[in-house]
Every structure is written in structure tokens, then in C-alpha cells.
């Protein structure tokens, strides 16, 4: 790991109408880090991800990736990033092979290598029997796997995963967890956005907790544990003001009286 950050976020703010979703976010992410990005619903996670991946171009502040300014070089930055969105947004009248062929070509990949890699990845993800089936007949989990493949097919430096385990079965979840670890070993920087605390706890070597548009905790799981609670769930609840979930449960039970 080098001392030069791969991603630099300075004073980043974003609002929708009058609602300020991100409030002066400042952050450095270093090469090879696996960042677990957590926070309650509406905290600003997805907005951060969309700005990082160039989906939202109008924001205040500065975002730099590998020395390139997002406001000026978003195209070059996109070449470095592989993005897996939360919802299975893909052209589902295509087959997985057609879709991956299309995505690979947009990254300017050589056709032979692209087809070879797509085939290997589809097989590795257990989709070899469905290579030539249209995706509108696929389950959510199958679509999610195709999305994952489309995010890594060009072998990016940075991988941004927004709830990648959504809709996947237990075996696939185990496989993705292992995949994240292996990608980290390959030197990839991973920005992993999720609500699944146990997975975040296991795969991340740095956890960022965002609440109401601000980073309220930043550190390794071990360091957060020392200051707050034994589990990531506990840390999350304490820092986001939901510590009293026991009393909430009591209130629910008492409402039957």
C-alpha cells in the first residue's frame, strides 16, 4: 500500500432540491484498500457511489481518482473503475454473452480476449448453461451475477460494489466474499457499499460509516470495536442513534397492551 491516495474526496457536497444529501465529505482512499461503506437508508451512500462512478456530474467539491479530476477527466476515470449497481439495471432482452460483449467493447477490449474472458467468467459464476438465453427470463440473482461480471470484465483498478449480494443465494454470497478477498490480493481497490454488516466486517480492512451526509466513523473494525462496541452491528446502532433498539422493541410489545 502506497502513501499516495488513489481516490481523494475534498469538501464534497450534493443536494437534491433543498435537501443536502452529502455535507462537505473529505476522504482519502489508498490503493489496495477494501472500504466497507455503511450507513442507514438515506444517509448518502448511493449518492457518494454515483458521484464516484461519474453518474452524477453536478456536485460541489473535488473528487480525484488516480490523480485525475472527476470534473475534467471523468472518461479516463471511468476506464479505471468497475461499477456494480444495486439494482439489476441491464438490457435484459440480450443474452449475457451479448451484454458482456457490448460492455467490453465500450472499454475498448480486444474481441477475442473479451469473448474468452466473458465465457470464463460466466462459467465461473455458474451461468454457463444460460450463456445464450435472454436475461429477461433470469432470476434476480442470475442478473446480479451478470452485473458483477460486467463490473470486472475489463480488469479495473477500482471496483465499486453497491449492495452486490442483493438477491444472491448463500453459495453465491460465500463465493463473492471470497472473490473480494482474492481481488484485494490482486491489488484492486474495492469500495464496498452494503447493509450486510457481517460481510462488511469480514471483508473490509477499513470501514466508513456515513450518517445524514457526514462520515461519522472511519477506521479498521478493530479500532472501531475498541471505541464503541464488539460487533459492527452494535457500532452501527450506537453511532447512528439507534442504540436503544431494545427499548423500541419494548415499545412495540407494549403497544399490544
Amino acid at each position: 500500500m502506497t502513501d499516495t491516495p488513489l481516490i481523494q474526496i475534498r469538501d464534497l457536497s450534493k443536494s437534491y432540491g433543498e435537501k443536502l444529501v452529502l455535507k462537505h465529505l473529505t476522504l482519502d482512499i489508498f490503493p489496495g484498500q477494501v472500504i466497507g461503506y455503511i450507513g442507514p437508508n438515506g444517509a448518502g451512500k448511493s449518492t457518494t457511489v454515483k458521484i464516484l462512478t461519474g453518474l452524477i456530474p453536478d456536485f460541489k467539491g473535488q473528487v480525484t481518482v488516480d490523480g485525475l479530476d472527476m470534473s475534467i477527466n471523468s472518461l479516463e476515470i471511468k476506464k479505471l473503475i468497475g461499477y456494480v449497481p444495486e439494482n439489476a439495471e441491464l438490457y435484459d432482452v440480450l443474452t449475457p454473452m451479448e451484454y458482456l460483449d457490448f460492455i467490453g467493447k465500450l472499454y475498448n477490449m480486444e474481441e477475442g480476449m473479451l469473448h474468452d474472458r466473458a465465457k470464463k467468467l460466466l462459467t465461473a459464476f455458474g451461468l454457463s448453461d444460460n450463456i445464450n438465453n435472454r436475461m429477461d427470463t433470469f432470476s434476480k440473482g442470475m442478473k446480479q451475477k451478470v452485473l458483477l461480471i460486467s463490473g470486472i470484465i475489463h480488469n479495473p483498478k477500482i471496483i465499486v460494489l453497491d449492495e452486490p449480494l442483493s438477491g444472491l443465494d448463500a453459495n453465491a454470497v460465500i463465493m463473492i466474499k471470497e472473490l473480494i478477498v482474492r481481488l484485494k490480493e490482486e491489488g484492486k481497490t474495492i469500495f464496498y457499499c452494503s447493509h450486510m454488516m457481517d460481510v462488511v466486517e469480514k471483508v473490509s480492512d477499513r470501514i466508513l460509516l456515513i450518517n445524514k451526509g457526514e462520515i461519522i466513523a472511519d477506521g479498521t473494525f478493530e479500532s472501531l470495536k475498541q471505541n464503541h462496541s464488539d460487533t459492527l452491528e452494535g457500532i452501527f446502532a450506537k453511532l447512528t442513534g439507534r442504540e436503544s433498539s431494545g427499548s423500541e422493541a419494548d415499545a412495540i410489545i407494549n403497544s399490544f397492551d
Binding site: T47, I56, K78, Y91, I103, N133
Partner: protein
């Protein structure tokens, strides 16, 4: 990929040097266009065909081509309508452009505002110019493909008629002009909408625009031939009317007049032809330089606002909720029935897909009335209208409102989110009929009654207060028809079934029988309309019949309805195999 698409892509490739100069990545452009055209060929089209979710033939490009050719042949006959080629071409291109605009609005809106692009293309290294150009070319290729197929019979027909090689070439240029002008027109409307309203409102407006446009086409198709004198139209001299100079179709046909019949061309015709050539060029430049970038920016907002909290839709004011609750407590006092009433009212009022299907039926009622009453020869339109105003045919106008009830009931069980209906099956509801009667009453109170009040008020203004008894009687008769339809045809709870056109022969016969019944009732009413007292008295038994029927409807059991499993079985599609992109070993 069909041959024509390959031809278009090759044609686009010929302009690579120009596009690259404009900053477009031509390799990416070709890839995006190729995939978009492939998806178009797999996408069901709505023009001239209803959505047929389970019909695999609907995507066959050859069938679509054949159908479009036949349409082109039919419309092509207009080329020889009127006293001169100028008139014939103007009539032809008027219809041609209306059809192109209709296609753009109905079939292409999903492509035009497809926010998936923002998540699939934008995270990739594709620049804005390439995306903007791909969108413009995609629209152009799509519509040109259709335009050329539709225009082909016309091209052949003018070739034979003029016995000239030049005529088909000029006709081809005219088709290109008409196509570009149609694209420009639809783009202008969309951009104007996007500039003035919020992204969410834009989606609603597009839907309403689609409804209005479809209804207009429907009305023109049924009523125009009855409202205008075709013989007079045949002899019309368009140049004598200044308004015709503003018709784009006139500019287009002026080109034909200048090049094919130069002896008849005047200075005015020459200027009109020039306007026809210059406007598409200016229009295309305007679309590329001004409209397209703005369109992309707005689409981005549309895509991102869908996920952000900014799109939160506020429910109606407390006053309106109280109003709904008050009506519910009066017409559906039973708690279960009230729940059915309340959920149907809320969902039917807020579900865009339901409203889009139900709203056109409101316009169909007066259109169908005029269609039937203006049919038949021998009299002028004025004489026919006078006869309507002085006769008792108004009775049929109100009875035609059964179309509204049919449409409401036909769509109320269907939803894209039908799986949310699991709740009905999980709750301890012993008698689903109460939910159904609540559903029926909500539809009547929310949509049918307000429609009848507006229609009735209009009728009283035209025919006078003496017809109030007729209105009340026909209202109850239609309610009886509605309950019969609900009893025998609507076999599901509100929004509980997938959106498919599942034909059922048995129900088709029942449907015809109920329609025959309302027809008979209407005819009986028409015959007795002059006996005012009888009409007043008839209201009592018909209203009583409605009361009996609705109570019968309340007794519907679970066995009378389709099960949740049935709905799930309908929804699951079969696997669709496609030709492999590469051969797998």
C-alpha cells in the same frame, strides 16, 4: 440483425470522418447502435397491435415489415387523391407524418426516456457526444427504417404512375424530409415539456400526451370521414388557402411539383419546396446542437431523481382523504368491504399504468356516439346533428358509458406489481366478495360517477332538464351491467393479476351476452323515452336490481376467483433461446 439495420450501420460508417471531427467515438457509436437496433427487434411494438406478452411472434421483424408494407400500400392510394399531384402528395404526407409521430410517441418514448442508459452507459468510458449522437441516430435509424418500409409502396406507385425514374427518387427525398420533420416535431414537444416541468411530472405528462395522441388518432379515424365531405376534399385547391402554406406536408409535396411537374410550379410552390428542404436541415442542426445535450442532462436528472429521496410523492391533502373516507363509510359500511373500497380507490387513483388504460375510454364514449349517429348516407352533417338534437338518440350516448365501466373493470385486476396481492391470500378474509364489492363501488365513485356527472351535465345543457329521468335510469342500468360484468368476467381481486391478454373463450361469450343485454336495455329505453312517467317509475326496479346484484356479488367465494398460484403460473415466462453470439465449445 436484419439486413436493413446492417445497411444503416454501414451508411453511418460512411460519415465516420465527419463524426470523429465532431468528437464522436465512432467505434463505440457503432457498438451502441448495433446493440440498440438488436434490442428494438426484440422489443414488442405497440403501433397497430396491443401488447402481447406471451406471444412470441410479435417480435418477428418480418411480420412487422409485412404489416408496415400493407399499411404503406393503403396510405399510398392517397397519392392519387385530389385534383392534382400536389394535393395527393399533401394528403399522403399529412397521414404519413401523423403515423410517424404516433410511432415516435407510442413506440419510441420508452427508448427516448430509457433511464437504464444512465446506469449502463454512463459508468463506462463513453463521452456525452457519443451518447447524444447514438441517441439521435438510433431514433433516426429506427424511424427511417419504418418510414422507408412504409414509403416503399408509394415510391413504386409514383414510379408507375409518372412512368419516370426521377419520380421514385424525388419521392424518396420527400420521405426523408417528412421523417426528419416528424423527429424534429416530437423532439420539440418533449424538450418543451422537459424544460418546463419536473422529471417526475414529465413522465406523467408523457403518458397523458400518449393518451391524448392515441385518442386523437382514434377520433380522426372514426369521425373524420363522417364529418367532412370527401367529394369536396377531392376538388380542393390547396394553394387557394393561405393556411396550407404552413403545412409541412405541403412543403414536401411542393418539391415533387417543382421537380416532376415544373410546368405547373409557381414561385410560391418553389418557395414552399425550398422551405421543405431547408427546415429539416435547420431542424436537425437544432436537434443535435441544442435539444440533444439538454435532453441528456434532463434524462440524467430523471434517472438519478428516481433513486433519490427528492422524488417522494406527497399523498393528497387531509381534506381529500376525509372526503374519500366519508364516501367509503356511506357506500361501503362493512369493514372488509370498506377496506376493499379504500385500497382500490387509493391504488386506482395513484397507479399510472391503470390510469393510462382507463382514461382513453372516457373519450371513446362521445366518439363512438358520434360515429354511430353520424353513420348512414343521404343527409348532410348539419342535418344529422339537428336530428340528434331533436330526437331521443341521446339515450344511447349515456348507455355507451358502459365502455368506461368495461375498461375500468377489465383493467382493475391487473398490475405489474401483482405479487403485492399476496396480502389478500394471507389475511383471514372469509368472503372475498366483500373486497370485490368494495372494489366495484370505489371504481364507480372515483371514476364512473364523476364521468357520468360531467356527461349528464353536458347532456342536460344540450337536450334540456327533461332528460334527467333518462340519465338516472340509464345510470342504474349501466351499474347493473357493471355488476354483471364483474360477477362473470372479473375473476380477481384488485391489482392481483399479471398484465397479460389471457383469452378465455367462455368469458368472451359472457361478455358478448352482457353487452347484448345493455344494448337491449338501451333500445327498450329509447323506445319508451317519450313516456316520461314510465321512465321515472322504471328507475325503481332497475335500482333495486342493482342492489340485489351487488349483494349477490358480495357473496363471491374464494372458489369463484383465480388463485394466487394461477397468477404466478401465468407470469413465469419460458426461457427464450437466441442465436449464440459466439459458438461455445
Amino acid at each position: 440483425m436484419i439486413a436493413m439495420d446492417k445497411l444503416f450501420l454501414t451508411a453511418v460508417g460512411k460519415f465516420d470522418f465527419l463524426l470523429e471531427k465532431a468528437g464522436v467515438n465512432t467505434r463505440q457509436l457503432q457498438d451502441i447502435l448495433r446493440i440498440k437496433l438488436m434490442m428494438d427487434n426484440r422489443r414488442p411494438r405497440t403501433l397497430f397491435s396491443k401488447k402481447r406478452a406471451n406471444n412470441t411472434n410479435v417480435n418477428n421483424p418480418w411480420l412487422v415489415t409485412l404489416f408496415t408494407l400493407m399499411m404503406g400500400l393503403f396510405v399510398g392510394m392517397l397519392l392519387f387523391f385530389g385534383d392534382s399531384p400536389l394535393s395527393g402528395h399533401t394528403f399522403y404526407f399529412t397521414i404519413f407524418m401523423i403515423l410517424m409521430c404516433f410511432t415516435l410517441v407510442t413506440d419510441f418514448t420508452t427508448v427516448l426516456i430509457d433511464t437504464r442508459d444512465q446506469f449502463i452507459l454512463l459508468p463506462r468510458p463513453v463521452d456525452d457526444r457519443t451518447i447524444a449522437m447514438s441517441r439521435i441516430l438510433h431514433i433516426t435509424i429506427y424511424i427511417l427504417r419504418l418510414a422507408l418500409i412504409q414509403g416503399l409502396p408509394g415510391i413504386i406507385m409514383v414510379g408507375f404512375a409518372d412512368k419516370s425514374f426521377l419520380s421514385p427518387i424525388v419521392m424518396l427525398v420527400e420521405i426523408l424530409e417528412a421523417t426528419f420533420l416528424s423527429i424534429l416535431f416530437v423532439n420539440l414537444i418533449y424538450l418543451a415539456m422537459m424544460r418546463t416541468v419536473s422529471p417526475q411530472r414529465f413522465k406523467d405528462l408523457i403518458s397523458y400526451f400518449q393518451i391524448a395522441f392515441s385518442t386523437l388518432i382514434f377520433a380522426v379515424y372514426y369521425l373524420l370521414p363522417r364529418l367532412i365531405n370527401l367529394n369536396a376534399l377531392k376538388d380542393i385547391n390547396l394553394l387557394a388557402h393561405n393556411w396550407s402554406y404552413f403545412l409541412p406536408s405541403m412543403w414536401i409535396s411542393a418539391l415533387n411539383e417543382v421537380l416532376i411537374h415544373p410546368s405547373r410550379a409557381t414561385v410560391v410552390i418553389g418557395l414552399l419546396a425550398l422551405a421543405g428542404l431547408v427546415t429539416p436541415v435547420i431542424g436537425l442542426w437544432f436537434v443535435i446542437k441544442v435539444l440533444a445535450p439538454g435532453f441528456n442532462r434532463k434524462l440524467m436528472i430523471l434517472a438519478t431523481s428516481e433513486d433519490s429521496n427528492s422524488g417522494t410523492v406527497k399523498v393528497k391533502s387531509q381534506l381529500k382523504q376525509d372526503f374519500r373516507d366519508k364516501i367509503g363509510s356511506v357506500v361501503a359500511p362493512d369493514p372488509v368491504e370498506n377496506a376493499g373500497f379504500s385500497i382500490t380507490w387509493k391504488l386506482a387513483a395513484r397507479t399510472r399504468e391503470f390510469k393510462m388504460k382507463a382514461y382513453p375510454s372516457f373519450a371513446f364514449v362521445p366518439i363512438m356516439f358520434l360515429y354511430f349517429t353520424l353513420s348512414g348516407g343521404g343527409q348532410s352533417v348539419g342535418e344529422k346533428m339537428s336530428k340528434i338534437q331533436n330526437g331521443s338518440s341521446y339515450v344511447f350516448l349515456f348507455y355507451l358509458s358502459f365502455i368506461v365501466l368495461s375498461s375500468l373493470l377489465g383493467n382493475i385486476t391487473m398490475s405489474e406489481k401483482f405479487k403485492s396481492a399476496w396480502v389478500y391470500y394471507a389475511l383471514p378474509i372469509g368472503q372475498p366478495g366483500k373486497i370485490l364489492s368494495g372494489m366495484y363501488k370505489a371504481l364507480v365513485m372515483l371514476y364512473y360517477l364523476p364521468f357520468c356527472i360531467i356527461l349528464g351535465t353536458g347532456m342536460v345543457i344540450v337536450w334540456g332538464p327533461g332528460i334527467i329521468n333518462d340519465i338516472v335510469l340509464s345510470f342504474f342500468a349501466c351499474l347493473v351491467y357493471g355488476v354483471l360484468t364483474a360477477l362473470f368476467i372479473v375473476k380477481g381481486l384488485p391489482f392481483s393479476k399479471p398484465v397479460v391478454n389471457k383469452q378465455n373463450g367462455g368469458r368472451g361469450i359472457v361478455s358478448l351476452a352482457t353487452m347484448a343485454l345493455i344494448g337491449l336495455l338501451g333500445y327498450g329505453h329509447y323506445v319508451l323515452a317519450k313516456y316520461e312517467l314510465i321512465i321515472w317509475l322504471a328507475i325503481i326496479p332497475v335500482a333495486a336490481l342493482y342492489w340485489v346484484m351487488i349483494n349477490q356479488y358480495k357473496k363471491t367465494t374464494w372458489d369463484d376467483l383465480e388463485s394466487f398460484e394461477d397468477a404466478e403460473t401465468i407470469e413465469k415466462p419460458k426461457k427464450i433461446k437466441t442465436k449464440p453470439l459466439i459458438q461455445t465449445k
